[in-house]
């Protein structure tokens, strides 16, 4: 699993443009997190994809976009996963390393869950 971090201008259409590059290269994005960041009018996109080769193949195309300021792969030690789980007892939230969260989600067999990755 590779995690990529992009710094972009925070404006309408950015996600469509960024995802367009993944679409063209037929890369499925596993998880994606977008949010405001320390700089005004900028946003960070953190997304994960399975294959390293594919991640590298799309990188220069992302950097060529006018609205993308930075695009880089993030070192594995800086990844974090989280998940929201729901079953009869209620809603439970899990954070931790990718392996830990994977394990908990698998073990608890929730009725419904969503899992994502983040990095910094």
């Amino acid at each position: 699993m590779e995690v990529m971090m992009l710094l972009v201008y925070d404006q309408p259409g950015v996600m469509q443009r960024v995802m367009g590059e993944f679409n063209r290269k037929r890369i499925n994005v596993e998880t994606i997190v977008v949010g405001k960041c320390e700089m005004p009018e900028r946003a960070r996109i953190v997304l994960s994809i399975e294959d390293r080769e594919k991640a590298l193949s799309v990188m220069e195309h992302l950097r060529a976009l006018q609205e993308v300021i930075e695009a880089d792969l993030v070192d594995h030690s800086r990844h974090e996963a989280y998940a929201l789980l729901q079953n009869r007892e209620g809603i439970c939230r899990v954070t931790g390393s990718v392996e830990e969260v994977d394990l908990i989600v698998k073990k608890s067999q929730p009725e419904k869950y969503v899992q994502a990755m983040n990095a910094i």
């Binding site: 259409g13 469509q16 063209r24 220069e60 060529a64 976009l65 006018q66 609205e67």
Partner: protein
């Protein structure tokens, strides 16, 4: 303080826009009302697609940004092909579309289409202005983006209320900056070393060389390295094809000597080319024995299709000159150069074919011979394009303009009109097919209305020729939807109906005379060459294959596997 429409026109003038190609519509009326009072020339094509191609043709000749404009909805969707064509061939363009008012945007208003979304994947960048105060900087930025780094089209979607909004002087004067294009010449020394050690160096150039105007420098480098120069379709015209080291166009329908050099060199210096599949054939076998030095202004092209030994990011002119100053002048073996020059001579077979029915090669031969040294040739797409690429000789100030990337039928005629506007002193001729011209024949109206005397050399065989050729070669001659079964118009009458002049030629002996007459005409001129429908474009390397599988036809190449 001024209204958005006036501001837009003022900003275009500030960008030195002299001419625009476009069709008005409801949401553009405030803009057109202001445009009427400016000295920007406006050309009214009869279809928005052609507005795009005209702006593109204008840009390719003038090396300035071509500007086209279309209304919302269908105007924008029609413009898409023109913009996509410019995108694939890295042509600088600013395409403006009107849009429904921001108040109703997204509500399926009359003539609303998501042009912002439609244009996104086929532009270098695009904008939708929803805040009037951003109008000035957006227009300024668009021109900057179109002409910085790798050129390309930029689209601006402007809702009608922005044209009515107030723009302040402060907003008009706001300056804009965009990041400088990245350069990476850290591999320069490695590239120089590879080239110095090369026994069989070959230079392959693409469209980037034309945009960077580096043709002369390429020839200097070629002579230093004693290396032949092979061009892609997009580079045709960048280097003089009457020079013994220039081997012409390579690839699927390329010259055998050009493909021979590509396949037999030990070091390939590829400049401003993206290794299209039409050039490489079977990608996994392209350049496996070759050390590739890849030079491109766009870092995302390096290693995209062909993994090279060295990648240099920069514009062709800068990198070529850096290589020239890095190379030592020293004695080299002339064996490779001499062999290639000999093969190049042998590859130049006679195509002054006098047999009947008239052969397309004969038409191109006579065009090569009779057009002036500064003529501009455009082509449509298909057999006409490949015959032109293979047999037409570009040298001196001649230019060759074609839709290489997208392969847009109907490109050549409107692009010729744009080219003629950019350089009125040159003879401009479109090499067309009867399939392509039927996609854009309405533009004879534009040509006549605006006194744009271009020549249309119509290679008329009654077929969608390239489709027919593939059906013949790869689908057991099962022809489907490729023949115009007796329903093509009389092209001479068609042109004349618009007020152009025209003639029909079906004998080889009449070709030269007709071309000479057309070059002297003061109105648009169509020559309907009735050519042999059985003639294919050969040689041909079938798609996804290598030169071993080349179908040679008339070609008498004896130089070994090309």
């Amino acid at each position: 303080m001024m209204k958005g429409a006036k501001a837009a026109v003022e900003l275009l003038k500030q960008q030195n826009v002299e001419i625009m190609f476009g069709i008005p519509g409801g949401v553009l009326l405030p803009f057109y009302d202001e445009l009427a009072q400016s000295d920007i020339r406006h050309i009214l094509p009869r279809h928005e697609q052609c507005a795009g191609h005209m702006a593109d043709g204008y840009a390719r000749v003038s090396k300035k940004v071509g500007v086209c404009i279309a209304t919302s909805g269908p105007g924008a969707t029609n413009l898409v092909t023109g913009v996509a064509t410019a995108f694939m061939d890295s042509s600088p363009m600013v395409a403006i579309t009107g849009q429904v008012a921001t108040a109703v945007l997204g509500n399926d208003a009359f003539q609303e289409a998501d042009s912002f979304g439609l244009m996104m994947p086929i532009t270098k960048h695009n904008f939708r202005i929803t805040d009037p105060k951003l109008l000035p900087e957006t227009i300024k930025k668009s021109f900057l983006i179109a002409t910085t780094g790798r050129f390309g089209p930029v689209h601006i979607d402007i809702p009608v209320d922005i044209f009515h909004a107030d723009i302040t002087d402060e907003q008009m004067e706001r300056e804009v900056k965009i990041p400088k294009p990245k350069k990476n010449l850290t591999g320069l020394l490695d590239a120089v070393k590879l080239l110095e050690k090369a026994e069989r160096p070959t230079i392959m150039i693409g469209g980037g060389v034309g945009w960077s105007r580096a043709g002369g420098d390429i020839m200097r480098l070629a002579e230093m390295l004693m290396a032949p120069v092979v061009t892609t379709l997009m580079a045709k015209g960048s280097v003089p094809e009457n020079h013994p080291l220039v081997l012409g166009v390579c690839g699927m329908h390329g010259r055998q000597v050009a493909n021979y050099a590509l396949n037999n060199c030990d070091v390939l210096l590829a400049i401003g080319t993206r290794f299209s599949d039409r050039v490489t054939g079977k990608l996994s076998e392209f350049g496996v024995k070759t050390k590739v030095v890849h030079v491109d202004i766009d870092s995302s092209e390096i290693g995209k299709n062909v993994k090279g030994r060295v990648g240099l990011v920069g514009d062709a002119w800068t990198v070529v000159n850096a290589l020239i100053s890095g190379l030592q002048m020293r004695a080299r073996s002339a064996t490779w150069r001499d062999r290639i020059i000999q093969l190049n001579k042998e590859c130049s077979c006679d195509y002054n074919l006098k047999s009947e029915p008239l052969k397309p090669q004969k038409v191109i031969y006579e065009m090569s011979k009779n057009l002036p040294d500064d003529a501009i040739v455009t082509t449509e797409v298909g057999q006409n394009q490949m015959w032109a690429a293979h047999f037409y000789k570009c040298y001196g100030k001649r230019m060759f303009i074609t839709s290489g990337g997208l392969g847009t039928m109907g490109f050549g005629f409107p692009a010729a009109l744009g080219a003629k506007i950019a350089r009125p002193s040159s003879v401009v001729a479109d090499i067309a097919g009867d399939g392509s011209i039927q996609m854009v024949s309405q533009e004879f109206a534009t040509a006549v209305e605006n006194d744009i005397p271009v020549i249309v050399c119509l290679l008329d065989n009654g077929w969608l020729g390239m489709v027919k050729q593939w059906q013949k070669l790869f689908y057991g001659s099962r022809y489907m939807a490729s023949k115009f079964a007796g329903t093509t118009p009389d092209f001479v009458k068609l042109a004349e109906a618009y007020g152009a002049e025209a003639c029909r030629v079906d004998r080889p002996s009449e070709v030269a005379e007709a071309i000479k007459r057309a070059t002297k005409a003061e109105v648009p001129y169509l020559i309907d060459f009735i050519i042999d429908p059985e003639e294919d474009v050969l040689p041909m390397t079938p798609p996804g294959m290598t030169s071993v599988n080349c179908i040679k036809g008339r070609c008498e190449w004896k130089g070994g596997v090309a």
